[in-house]
Amino acid sequence: MSYLSPARLFFAFVAGGFFGAGLLTSGMTDTAKVQGWLDVFGNWDPTLAFVMGGAMIPMALAWLVARGLNRSALGTPLPPKPGTQIDRKLVLGSVLFGIGWGLAGLCPGPSIASLSYGGASLYVFVAAMITGMFAAPALRRRLDKPVAAE
């Protein structure tokens, strides 16, 4: 199936629509709710746990269904089995991401979902995030090099 098939683009749009609608509905585009969940020593807000739990229900079912399939409904390949390698890119990257997530109360999904109402501060965050994503491959190549020189 071509990458430009209308069905493929349409269902990508539909999936994105559910994702965006869910991020708005759940309150996850409100940075105070995200920081409130991370702030266990402050006025703790449990909402994020319900969002994560709620999202994992349909997703776990989808993985179960996918297990019995060879291809997606549109005939494209399904994702391979997840990797098991725990390397420093995974750990260091996740730690850096977590610090930024806590600082602004934003992760990539909600930052995009709130583009229509987030205002100037959000544009600053998204511009910096895109800059970081642009710079990441160079840093990734450095981290791929072995630690000890020969």
């Binding site: 990458y3 494209t76 994503m133």
Partner: protein, 142 residues
């Protein structure tokens, strides 16, 4: 007015439904940082338009639904430019190094019991929690 956790649960179910559609129909993992990042660093290749279609939905649906939610959302986002820039850079670099964020490693990875997804999620939640304690309670910058 329903309590926040009910809206959280409903929103979560919608998010998971989006991920289920993207997996079962398009054959792809719904990870926001990967979908955006591959467009930014040029590694998207032929999947460029599929990614852009997904992002169009992510932006458009909240915009269309906003009137139902009173026409506005108070995002409580900080106006502190250095904090926004630092946070954005950390999120952009970190998610691309780790190859995933809250949606890819969190929602999609953990729901298939992916070891990498579980480790990544523990790392960013711990770092986020420690970060909030340091930056809010110790330094007072957020």
């Amino acid at each position: 007015m329903q309590p926040d956790w009910i809206w959280g649960l409903i929103g979560g179910l919608l998010i998971g439904t989006g991920g289920a559609i993207y997996l079962l129909v398009n054959g792809r993992i719904m990870g926001a940082s990967g979908i955006i990042g591959a467009l930014v660093d040029g590694s998207a290749g032929d999947s460029k338009w599929e990614r852009l279609s997904f992002l169009a939905g992510v932006i458009l649906l909240p915009a269309l639904l906003l009137p139902l939610y009173g026409g506005t959302v108070d995002t409580h986002i900080t106006g502190n430019i250095p904090v926004l820039v630092a946070a954005g850079l950390l999120v952009g670099i970190g998610t691309r190094l780790a190859n995933g964020c809250t949606s890819g490693h969190g929602v999609c990875g953990m729901s298939r019991l992916s070891l990498r997804g579980i480790v990544a999620t523990c790392c960013y939640i711990l770092a986020g929690g420690v970060g909030v304690v340091i930056f809010r309670h110790l330094l007072g910058v957020i």
